[in-house]
Structures are given as C-alpha cells and as structure tokens.
C-alpha cells in the first residue's frame, strides 16, 4: 500500500464520521445536553437557590474542577469513563446489529468476578496475570451474552427478557461464588480481600501524563476497542453481515447470510465488551484507593445500565460513544466536586437528568431528520427519478407496505 492510499483511507475514515449525518448528529446531541442542563439548573434553583449558580458552574467545569490539579481531574475522568465506555460500546454494538443488550450489567459483573478469580488464584502467571484475568473476564461475559443470543436466534425468545434474567442470574451467582470462597472473601469486612498488586493492569505512562490521578492503560484499551469496532462495523464483511441482519433479518437470510449465527455472535461480542469493562475496573490500579473489592451486595452494576444512555448519546457509533462516555463522566465528576455545596442526591438527580435527556438524542435526531428529510423528499420527488417516494416521509421504523 503506498502512502497516498493510506492517506486516502484515513481521509475517508474521517469523512465517514463527519459527512453523513454530521449536522443532524451534532445538533441533536447538543440539543439534548442543553435541555438536560436547563432542567438541572431549574432543580438547583428550587432546591438550593443561594448556591445554584456556583453548583451549576461546578458541574459544567466537570473534570477541570478537581481541587488538586487539572491533570488529576483529567486522569480521573479517563479512569471513571473506561467502564461505561465499554458498556456503552456493548449496548451500541448490539443496537447497530438490531439487538437491545440490556444485560450489560450482568455481563459486567461476571466479567469482574472472573477477573477477580484470576487475580487471586493466578499468581503463578507472573507478568501475564492481568492479561489472563482480562481474558477470563471476556470469556465469562461472552458466555453471558451468548446465551440470550442463542435463545433469540434459535427459539426467537426476545433478548431483552433473557438478558434481564441473566442480569440477576449473574449477580446472584457471583455473590454466591464470592461468599463461598474464603480465599477471596473477607467475612469480617463482608467484601473481598484486597488483591495482589501484581494482578493490576499496567499504567503504561498514564501516571506520568496525569500524575497523582487514577489513570491507567484501561482507557487506551477501550479507545482501541472502539476504533476496532468502528472498522469492523463499517469496513468488514463481518460487520456488513451483522448490520444487514440488524436492518432486515429476512433480506439478510435471502442474501445467504447465516442470520442465526450473526445474532448469536452479536450478543456474544456485546457480552464480551461489557465484561471487559468489568475486568478493567476490577484490575485498575486506581481502584486500589477504594479497594479492588466486591462486596457481594444485591445490587446490579450501575455501569451496565449507564451503558444505555452512553450508547444513545453516541448514537451507537463507536467513535461517538468514546465522546459520550467522556461527556457523561465529565458531568458526573463535576457533580462529585461540588458535593460540598449541594446535597449529593441533588447532584445525582441533575446528572441523571442530563444523562437521560441524552437518551432523547435519538428523538431529537428523528425530529431533525424528519425536517431535513421533508425538504429532501420534496426535492427528490421533483427529481424525476424518484417520483414514487412516499409523499409523507416515512420514518425508519414504519412498516413499508409492499407494492
């Protein structure tokens, strides 16, 4: 491949990102964020009129509001963004292939557990311990995604139902396994023991870049995964098949694609992604501050559910998801820093509002798309080629009747 070609490839890569829906995407995301901030501000005004401006400023300052240094703020931002970046990729990837993976929480938890087991029992693996721990997490999560995918493909059981069930099965199963294992579980503190530092993932210079912060190589791995997913979805035969099945299962089958295999693989990959998030969180050196421990409570991992708004705000585009994960973490960090002046619950509510308004990004996009499409449809209708285009622009989900 000559240099020119590489350059062209890179160029078309970025063109793909920016061109198609750039306008729609950008405005819709911006609109949802602004709406979220507006309502959040109203709540601040009602609850804490005196400090509302300072609080809002703190939230908006986000990661840069770290009292120690901006470097620590950014480093922590990357650390906290990593798990939801991966669960976001998990949910977004499934979305792109026509599936709704609401099971990211369960996959995340089995990923954490599998990584934890290797961290406690795999000391003989030496420098490869963290690699094996991550792989173990991925395999566990892949299995947790595979099962709903299998049921969907073979028995046509809705993946939403199975994944929700597997969230709970994953949670209770890991709880039982943790509690019954004294090597892992500290019965007096009612959480797992601290794992050996040897099992931590390397920092790979991130501690030099953001000294004093919790940053490690986890974020770099997640970004690498996001770019890979983007390429897989948009550049490969495999992605072509997965998306094809997502858009139209029947036509994909007609084209000779094994649609059952595609659905199973899709869910398996989604499960592996969420579990990687869990494993990276478990093995992060930064987590040591709070303890690389699991407390075996009956709570589903919030990272799993936060993956849904991350994916929605990123419009399921892996590259978009990098930015949406960073944004949502940014707001959450901002809230964290101002908790001295605002009740922590209020901050949670506001960040939640912004996050969940972000879910409306899709609705806003449809709204904008419809307006743009209407104009376009008029032009196209005129364009003698496409006279039969329906007069009222069809929404994507609307059933199109056969002629």
């Amino acid at each position: 491949m000559d240099e020119n070609r590489i350059f062209l490839n890179i160029k078309s890569f970025f063109k793909d990102l920016s061109k198609k829906n750039a306008f729609k995407v950008f405005t819709s995301v911006l609109m949802s964020i602004l709406f979220g901030l507006l309502i959040g501000f109203l709540i601040l005004l009602i609850s804490n009129p005196g400090t509302s401006f300072r609080a809002l400023g703190g939230i908006l300052a986000g990661a840069f509001g770290d009292p120690k240094s901006v470097g620590v703020g950014i480093g922590d931002l990357l650390y906290y963004a990593t798990p939801i970046l991966l669960t976001g990729l998990s949910v977004g990837f499934a979305f792109k292939t026509g599936l709704f993976n609401i099971g990211a929480a369960g996959q995340f938890m089995v990923g954490q557990y599998a990584a934890l087991v290797v961290a406690f029992y795999g000391s003989g693996l030496g420098p490869f311990q963290w690699v094996v721990a991550i792989l173990a997490g991925i395999i566990a999560g892949a299995l947790w995604g595979f099962i709903p995918g299998f049921f969907k493909a073979i028995f046509n059981v809705n993946e939403v139902i199975t994944s929700i069930m597997f969230n709970y099965i994953g949670m209770y199963l890991t709880n039982i396994l943790i509690k019954s294992d004294r090597t892992i579980f500290d019965i007096t503190r009612h959480e797992t023991h601290h794992m050996s530092r040897d099992a931590f993932i390397p920092k790979l210079g991130m501690d030099k870049l953001f000294p004093g912060s919790r940053a490690d190589m986890g974020f770099l791995i997640a970004v690498l995964i996001a770019i890979t997913l983007y390429l897989v979805l948009n550049r490969t035969k495999f992605g072509f098949e997965l998306k094809g099945v997502g858009y139209n299962r029947h036509a994909a089958r007609y084209a000779g694609i094994n649609e059952k295999k595609s659905i199973i693989l899709s869910m398996t990959i989604a499960g592996a992604l969420a579990a990687l998030g869990g494993a990276l969180k478990m093995l992060a050196p930064g987590t040591h501050y709070v303890g690389n421990t699991l407390s075996a409570e009956e709570v589903l991992a919030s990272e799993g559910f936060n993956g849904i708004p991350v994916a929605l705000l990123g419009l399921s585009n892996p590259i978009g998801i990098i930015f949406s994960a960073l944004f949502i973490t940014y707001i959450q960090r901002g809230g964290f820093y101002v908790q001295s002046i605002v009740m922590i619950e209020i901050i949670d509510i506001i960040t939640a509002i912004i996050i969940y308004f972000s879910a409306f990004a899709l609705a806003f996009r449809i709204f904008i798309a419809k307006r743009v499409q209407k104009k376009k449809a008029e032009a196209e209708l005129a364009n003698e080629n496409s006279e039969e285009v329906d007069i009222i622009p069809l929404h994507k989900d609307e059933e199109v009747r056969n002629e």
Partner: protein, 509 residues
C-alpha cells in the same frame, strides 16, 4: 363544458427540476379520467398539488369554476377530494370500522357512536357492492379488501372526487376486475375518478379520457375510445414501444434445475402447500409457472431457493442434490433469485444502493479481502450496474434504498441477480409495479439471458406476460402442477380454466 375540478397551467418546481411544467388537467363530473406517465413523469406531484400536499408555483385550481386554494389535505377533504394512496394508510390492528371512522368519529357525548357509524358504513358497502366486514381486523384481510377499506374511507367522508394512485399495482387479476366493477358503480352514483396508472389495458378498459404526462410536461388529453394502446404508449414514452415480444425459437439444452416429487408443508396451516411437484428447467428456455396467487407458487420457489424447508422430494441443480444445502451455497452455485417481496427479502432498505447491489457477492474475493470490504470495488460495481441497467436514484450508489422508487428498487434487484451470472434465474412477479418502458426492458433482458444459454424459471400472475414470455407454461393449482402448456397452442381462456381448477389436470411430471 362542466368540469368539477380543473387544474390549470400548474407549474411546480423543485430545486433543479420542474416536476410539473404548465400542466392542465380537467376532470368532468362522472368520468374516469386516467393520468398516465412513466415512473417519474410528475403524476404524483400533480396529485399532491391537488391533495394539498404541495403548493403550485403558478397556475390555479378550480372547483365547479370557482378558484380554490388547497393548503393541506384537510382543505382537499372539505372540497370533497379523497385519495387512495399506493401504500395504504391503515392501522393494522384496528378493525375495518375503526379505520374508516378514524379522524371523523361520530360522537355520542364523550363516546364514539359506533352503531351509527356501522350503519352508515354498511349502507355504503351495500350501495357500492364492496362486501366488507366492518369487524375484521386490517391485518387479517387481503390487500384487495384493504383497498376497499380505503375506498370506503373516502365514501364515508362524502368525497366526490376520488383519486386512485396506482390502485392495481397490488392486486391480483381477479381483484383488478372487481375494482373495475367498483369504479363503475362509483361513477354510476355520481362520483368522479382520477385514476393514476401506467397500465395501458386498464386505461382502455375503464377510463373515459386520459391525460398523458412525460417528464413533467403535458403531452395531451385524449378520449379513450378514440385512441389505442400503441398511441398512448408512444405519448407516454416518446417512442414506439414493442409490445409483441420478438423472440427467437428457444433452443433448450441440458437440464439445470430438476425438481423431483417436491412437497412443502406450510408452517402456518400444516397443509401440503406444495404437493408432489416435479419438473425441469433447461438451459436456454423460459419456464413460467402460472396460477392464482396462493396456490403454492411462492412456497415452491422458496423451497428451490432454500428459504423454506422441504417435506419430501429433491431439488437438483446441475444434477447435484441441493435439497439440504444452505441459501448461500445455492446462491454461489448457480441460482439467482428475484424475490416476490422486494421490501421483505429483496433489499436491505436501510443499506445504500451500492451495498444492496453487492448483497449477493460481498463475500467473494471480488469485494472482500481477508474479511475487509473493498469499498472501491463495491462503488465501482454499483456505478457500472446503475449505468448499465438505468437505475435512477437521487445520489447514485450512496442513495439509501428506502428512498428509491419502487420501480427502481426492482430494477436494482434485477440488475444484481442478472449480473451475478448464475445459470438459473428464478424471477417471481418480476414486473410488478413497473411501467411499460421498464417492463419492455426487463422482458428483453430475460430473453437475452435465455438466449445466452441461461435457464429461467418465472412465476407470474399476469397472463399476457406468461403467454408472451415463456417457452413452456406450468399451471399450479392447489399445490399441484395441473398442466404443462405450450404458449403457442394455448390462450388466456384455457389457462384461466386450469388456474381455477375448472379443467382437470393432465400433467405427470
């Protein structure tokens, strides 16, 4: 002259294109007025102007001589203008009655007065002989019945000017006849009809006058009984259209497809929808399966192409038993398939045209390398097919398939399947919804394939297509092949008798 609606010198321009250029259409009271034109001639734009969806740049609309301004469909409705769209606008899981009254519910206090509505609907159904069941769910009734519901919607709203947008595209021949009867009843009761179509024989059969558009311009309005099909088609296309297909004598060679004692059991009804069927298709011949819709043709094709399981029997391709082979295997080893349902199977509507054109071959070394798609090759291939098969779309290869017109979607599928170069082309209802120009082109392509030594298996509901294109006709009735006929020695009457079971089978395949 007593015109109920006049559209005078309508011009509607869109960026870059004049969709309607000084078009005049005058509808007399009590006539069926056909509006004829190719896909993209400006028919829909003109009707959208009349229905209030677009405002004309210049020109005026008059009703009974009075100038009117139609700003939206509600205005149109108030002027008594109703439209049956090509794609019906019905709520699938509502009853017929609820669909009809939707938006115009008669009220009794805060409740809907269904009794009154039902009475009115049944009266209308009686008057116009529509025979509808007001309590049936839309999703349970046939397409023909759904169309009647759309007609009833207009009648319920007391519309007197009825626009039918390509109403026959979705109907079987029997349903078309019935629709013609309904249209005559409507005229008898004093309604006026604008009938958009590109099927010339229907125009000759039902309409009083016909207005022809070509590339946005008015070509003329003629009285139907003073014109002929060749003249109309020349007005529409701008050149003489070949109606009688000139084909050379078929030179059948070796067998490509052999179907032996094939049976298919429907997963829905658990009945033998295909019952012990045997036949062969040879290189260099067109075999056409005729029959009334729902007599097992679809399932037979699905079994041959691998999309449905067989209950018994074998499918041999080049002598190789492919009965249990995957769809991909059959695609790669010599079967091309133009499917019956172009939206459900033929296209991934949210993929762009280029991806759809590569849909059957993306996995071959031509379009992928180590699992990476060769986007440049896909693009170039799309450009080639678009050019070669005259597929018209807004932005070429990157046009999303959903936004293309039905005719061009069909052309894209045909281009993909023919260009694949398979030995066997299976084509189901290949010209459904296309205009004469496109039909002529596709017929000639199919014959070219035949003459190039390809085997062609067609399923068609259109008898004239069956008779003119095929070298052999197999008639299917209730899952069985009841006759093999030579198109040169048979006619529509005989075919019709076999198709309806009126003549006993003689076929032993």
């Amino acid at each position: 002259m007593n015109y109920i609606i006049e559209m005078l010198h309508i011009t509607k321009e869109f960026p870059g294109v004049k969709a309607n250029d000084d078009v005049t259409l005058q509808l007399q009271k009590g006539e069926v007025h056909a509006l004829l034109g190719e896909n993209g001639a400006g028919k829909s734009t003109l009707m959208s102007v009349l229905f209030g969806l677009y405002q004309p740049d210049s020109g005026e609309i008059r009703k009974n001589g009075q100038v009117v301004h139609i700003k939206n469909p509600n205005d149109a409705n108030e002027l008594g203008i109703g439209m049956v769209h090509q794609h019906f606008k019905l709520v699938e899981n509502f009853t017929v009655l609820d669909n009809i009254i939707l938006g115009f519910e008669p009220m009794k206090g805060v409740f809907i007065n269904r009794e009154e509505a039902r009475k009115k609907v049944l009266e209308l159904s009686e008057t116009y002989k529509l025979h509808i069941n007001p309590d049936a769910l839309i999703e349970d009734i046939s397409v023909g019945m759904q169309q009647r519901v759309e007609i009833l919607k207009m009648l319920y709203r007391e519309n007197e000017i009825l626009i039918f947008d390509e109403p026959t595209a979705v109907l079987t021949p029997q349903e078309i006849d019935e629709l013609m009867g309904i249209m005559r009843n409507l005229i008898k009761e004093g309604k006026s009809i604008i009938f958009i179509t590109h099927k010339l024989n229907e125009i000759m059969k039902i309409s009083d006058r016909c207005t022809v558009l070509r590339r946005g311009k008015l070509i003329g309005t003629v009285e139907t009984n003073k014109t002929s099909i060749p003249e109309l088609s020349k007005m529409m296309v701008g050149r003489d259209v070949q109606f009688t297909i000139e084909k050379k004598l078929a030179k059948p060679k070796e067998v490509v497809l052999a179907v032996e004692d094939l049976s298919v059991i429907s997963p829905l009804s658990n009945k033998h929808v295909v019952d012990d069927v045997s036949f062969t298709v040879r290189k260099g011949e067109v075999v056409c399966i005729a029959g009334i819709e729902g007599n097992g043709q679809s399932e037979l094709i699905y079994a041959i192409t691998g999309m449905m399981k067989t209950a018994a029997g074998r499918v041999l391709l080049h002598g190789e038993d492919v009965t249990n082979k995957s769809i991909r295997y059959r695609n790669d080893n010599g079967i091309s398939h133009v499917p019956e349902d172009r939206h459900k199977y033929g296209l991934i509507l949210d993929y762009n045209l280029a991806y759809n054109l590569a849909l059957k071959q993306y996995h071959t070394p031509r379009f992928q390398n180590y699992g990476f798609l060769k986007l440049d090759a896909i693009k170039a291939y799309a450009e080639k097919l678009i050019e070669q098969y005259d597929i018209r779309s807004g932005q070429g290869g990157v046009t999303i398939a959903r936004s293309m017109s039905g005719g061009n979607q069909q052309k894209a599928i045909i281009a993909r399947e023919i260009d694949k170069g398979s030995d066997l082309l299976v084509a189901v209802q290949v010209t459904r919804g296309l205009d004469v120009g496109a039909i002529e082109y596709i017929h000639s392509q199919i014959l070219k394939e035949r003459d190039n030594g390809k085997a062609v298996l067609m399923v068609s509901l259109e008898l004239d297509e069956v008779l003119s294109l095929s070298d052999r006709i197999l008639v299917m009735y209730e899952g069985k092949i009841v006759a093999e006929l030579d198109p040169k020695l048979t006619n529509e009457e005989e075919l019709g008798l076999y198709m309806t079971g009126g003549k006993a089978g003689t076929y032993h395949g």
